[in-house]
Structures are given as structure tokens and as C-alpha cells.
């Protein structure tokens, strides 16, 4: 517990340095409002409901996009690993699409689905699917022959074997792929909301920045950072729980 607290000492020092440099006039308060002002702005945003309503919109988009990306991505990856024709058709597409910066698709999804939830969910689905697919594919391909044979000899048919052996064998790499997807979903969410949205945390950052209320803008930026951090930490906990058999 003590060690865990000590880990965050640098963070506290950074916060203090931030406050001090802003107050002492070392940097302009326009460029960097003091942390205390940011916290006050954060409380205001929370009180008037801006943070909650925009946060809820953002979380819904990220959640739905990620959920679809995991479902479709994992299924594709596992079938690519276990059914050759699927692999032949899909792997060139995956290879071409994977390195592409998905933020380039922001205008495309807006053109197709407009400024609302649809375009964000589609963007996150497209951007987050491939790390999941590749994780599932590599994981499924690494399933041990002897395990597959064991399940078959104990009366499992092919589909049953896929579910009982290939899916759990793929789990460690699949879960790592999902972790990457989780981080990507935040990036895509905020950037797409900054560019083309009428609500959401990214939209709020852009709006507050454009209207010159920098302390509130910083408050939302910090909120996004903390949300990302807690999402990743809680995901790690879940992942450890699922993979507890590995120790």
C-alpha cells in the first residue's frame, strides 16, 4: 500500500510545480491556468451538468464502438486462423488496412453517417477492430495441437473444440489486442469529437478552447486523461482475473 502511494509522488510534485509556475508568473496563465483554477472549473462543469452529459455521450460512443470491434474482430481473427479460405480473402485486407492512420477516416464516417453517434461508433469500430483481429488470429494459431486432439478424442466436435480449446488458447493475445484497442478508442473518440461533433468530451474541449475559457478546457483534458488511465487500470484487473490460470 505504502509502495503504491509512493509511486504517485512524482505526480504530486508535477501538480505542485504546475501550480507554482502559473502563480509565480513564470508562464502566462493564458497558456497554463493554475491547477487550483482548473479544479474549480472542473467542479463548475460537474455542477452544471456539462461534464456528465458530454461524458455520457462519449462513453456510449466508445463503449458501443469497442464492443462491436471486440465482437467482430475476435470472430474474424479466430476464423482466419482456423479456416483457410477466410484467411486467404481477409489477410491482404488486414495487412493493407492495419497501418493506415484511422483518423483519416473521420471525414469519411461523417460523410456517411453525419455528426451524431453513428459516425463515431463506426470510426471506433474500424479503428479498434484490427488490433483485436490480429491478437485473436495470433493467439488462435498458437493453440497446441495436443490440446486440440485431446478435446476431439474426448468427443468434442469441431465447433465445440473451437470454443473449448482455440478461444481460450487465444485469450492471452486476444486480451492484449483488446488493451491496444481500448487505448485507440480514446484517441479516435476525442479526435473525432474535436473535429465533427455537437456533444462529447472532445467537442467540449474544442468548444471551451475556442471560447477562451482555458481553465475549463484544461479541466476536460484532465478528465479525459484520468478516464483513460482508470479504464486501462480496471481493464488490467479484469485481464488478470481472466488469466489467473497462467501463474
Amino acid at each position: 500500500m505504502k509502495a503504491a502511494l509512493l509511486r504517485y509522488v512524482p505526480l504530486v510534485l508535477l501538480a505542485l510545480a504546475w501550480e507554482a509556475s502559473a502563480r509565480s508568473g513564470l508562464v502566462s496563465t493564458l497558456a497554463l491556468p493554475p491547477l487550483s483554477a482548473v479544479v474549480a472549473a472542473w467542479i463548475d462543469l460537474l455542477r452544471d451538468g456539462e461534464l456528465i452529459s458530454n461524458g455520457a455521450a462519449s462513453l456510449w460512443r466508445a463503449g458501443a464502438g469497442l464492443f462491436l470491434a471486440i465482437g467482430i474482430g475476435a470472430t474474424l481473427g479466430i476464423f482466419m486462423a482456423w479456416w483457410r479460405p477466410v484467411n486467404v480473402v481477409l489477410s491482404p485486407l488486414v495487412e493493407m488496412f492495419y497501418p493506415m492512420p484511422k483518423s483519416a477516416l473521420i471525414p469519411v464516417t461523417v460523410l456517411w453517417l453525419g455528426f451524431g453517434n453513428g459516425s463515431k461508433i463506426l470510426l471506433i469500430l474500424l479503428g479498434c477492430m484490427l488490433p483485436v483481429t490480429i491478437g485473436a488470429f495470433n493467439g488462435a494459431r498458437s493453440s497446441e495441437q495436443a490440446l486440440v486432439w485431446s478435446a476431439r478424442s474426448m468427443g468434442a466436435n469441431r465447433l465445440r473444440m473451437l470454443w473449448d480449446v482455440v478461444v481460450p488458447s487465444a485469450m492471452p493475445e486476444l486480451l492484449n489486442g483488446i488493451r491496444t484497442a481500448l487505448a485507440l478508442s480514446f484517441i479516435l473518440l476525442v479526435s473525432s469529437e474535436l473535429i465533427a461533433a455537437r456533444e462529447g468530451l472532445g467537442y467540449l474541449i474544442g468548444f471551451l478552447g475556442a471560447s477562451g475559457t482555458y481553465d475549463a478546457m484544461f479541466a476536460v483534458v484532465l478528465t479525459v486523461a484520468l478516464l483513460g488511465f482508470f479504464a486501462d487500470r480496471s481493464y488490467l484487473l479484469v485481464m488478470r482475473r481472466i488469466l489467473r490460470w497462467r501463474e
Binding site: E144, A146, L147, W149, S150, A151, R152, S153, M154, G155, A156, R160, D164, V165, P168, M171, R244, W245, R246, E247
Partner: protein, 262 residues
């Protein structure tokens, strides 16, 4: 022999590596294993003895020759043939109990019956108290006991064992051999046991099929039936003589296998 449980007739098999030319792994192998008989397949590494076991298991397709189980050709893996692998092949994400239950779940037995049966086989192999452990938390010997319990639990008529004690330390191996022999004497399953250990083959099996270096052929079949429950068996004359006899058959093949690789 009244009726053969396993009939192998003129089986040849080519192994196709991902790169390079196909290798003839088995050449014209014929063998009959009787009901409730314990036969060991003995040969140097790379002689195709495991391949033969996988063909019988239905994991690989038989390309030339025939393999019959009670007169019917092998088409696919099935619960009439249980297999135990050298590296245990336990589901690492399942506990000891979960692993032993797996085959029983496929049999659609009522839940209570399944639990009871799993427990009795966990007890049989001496793993009482480890039901909720994951394989990663067990020693090699305990993992192989779990694998044995898992296979015995769904009651296959035939046990295919692929160097099952090869990954264990000498002491554990000795214990497991004695245990397997006693389980076999009580349950009387047909066992086909792949090994490269002459003593192990002579101790466990009723007949030992000695295989040649690649391409694997059956070079000789040696009867190894004698009193096995003697505590001093490893010093008994009958045992030592059989080991000697088989060693002489195997030695030349082992040298060939080494030379082929150098």
C-alpha cells in the same frame, strides 16, 4: 488371438514438413493388438512410433493401408480411444476437476454422476485435495496423473499412450509405471504404449513391438509376459534377460538413427 481390438494392415505414412521434401515415416507396418492387451511400441526417436499412434487415434488420415478398431476403419478421433501425451496436454485454463470433467461433459451424463465419477478418478490417481489447482500449480508427475485421470474417467476401451512418462524425473517415472500397471491390471483396457525406454517397455507390456529407425517398420515382436508384481522385478532374471534380448534388437537401430542424423 480371438478378436483383435486394433488391426493395423500395411500402413505407410509420409510426413510432409512445411518446407522440404516429404519423409517416409512409416513403411508397411502391420500389427494386431488383442482385446485388453498391453503392447509397447519401442523404437529410436524419429522412427514414426508416435505417428502410428496418431493414425490409430484418427488425428492423422491413413493414406495407405488400413487401421481397424474392432473391425471398423478409423475415420476420426473418438472417445473409444483415449490418448495420453508426453507433455500432458491438459487444458491450462481448467482446474484439475475441470480437466477430468471435460470428457464426462461431452458424454452428457447427469451432473451429479459426472461430479462423482470425476472425484473417484481424482482419488484413484492420488490427487485428492488438488481438485481446484490449475495445471501450472502442479508438478510434472501430478500433471500426468491428472491427464491419466481425465482419460480414464470417460472410460475408453483403448488407451493410446505417447511416451507418457518421458517428461518426468526418474523417481516419479518409476512410481507412475507401477501405478499404471496396477490400474491396467484392475481395469483391463487395451493399451498401446509408445516409448524409447527398453526397461519401461519390458516392465509394462505383454508384448513389445520393436521398430526400426526411419522409415519405421516393425522389426520384431517380443513376448514379455511374466510375473510383474515382484518387488524385485528389476533384478529378476526373466526381466534382465528380456531387457538384454530387446536391447540387442534396438541397439543397432539406435545407432542407425544417430548416424542418419549426423
Amino acid at each position: 488371438m480371438a478378436q483383435a481390438q486394433i488391426t493395423i494392415e500395411g500402413v505407410s505414412h509420409r510426413y510432409r514438413p512445411p518446407v522440404g521434401r516429404p519423409v517416409l515415416a512409416l513403411e508397411d507396418v502391420s500389427l494386431e493388438v488383442g482385446i485388453r492387451e498391453f503392447v509397447a511400441l519401442l523404437g529410436p526417436s524419429g522412427c514414426g512410433k508416435s505417428t502410428l499412434l496418431y493414425l490409430i487415434g484418427g488425428f492423422l488420415p491413413t493414406e495407405s493401408g488400413r487401421i481397424l478398431i474392432e473391425g471398423k476403419p478409423v475415420a476420426a478421433p473418438g472417445p473409444d480411444r483415449g490418448i495420453v501425451f508426453q507433455h500432458f496436454a491438459l487444458f491450462p485454463w481448467k482446474t484439475v476437476r475441470g480437466n477430468v470433467l471435460y470428457g464426462l461433459e461431452r458424454m452428457k451424463l447427469p451432473r451429479e454422476e459426472r461430479e462423482k465419477r470425476a472425484q473417484s478418478f481424482i482419488d484413484l490417481v492420488g490427487l485428492t485435495g488438488f481438485e481446484d489447482s490449475y495445471p501450472a500449480q502442479l508438478s510434472g508427475g501430478m500433471r500426468q496423473r491428472t491427464a491419466l485421470a481425465r482419460t480414464l474417467a470417460f472410460d475408453p476401451k483403448i488407451l493410446l499412450m505417447d511416451e507418457p512418462f518421458g517428461a518426468l524425473d526418474a523417481q516419479t517415472r518409476g512410481l507412475m509405471q507401477a501405478e499404471l500397471l496396477s490400474i491396467w491390471q484392475r481395469s483391463r483396457k487395451t493399451v498401446l504404449f509408445v516409448t524409447h525406454d527398453v526397461q519401461e517397455a519390458v516392465y509394462l507390456a505383454e508384448r513389445v513391438a520393436v521398430m526400426s529407425a526411419r522409415p519405421g517398420r516393425i522389426k520384431a515382436i517380443v513376448d514379455t509376459r511374466f510375473e510383474k508384481n515382484d518387488t524385485n522385478i528389476f533384478k529378476a532374471k526373466a526381466f534382465v534377460d528380456k531387457v538384454d534380448e530387446i536391447w540387442n534388437l534396438v541397439r543397432i537401430e539406435a545407432i542407425k538413427a544417430q548416424g542418419g542424423r549426423a
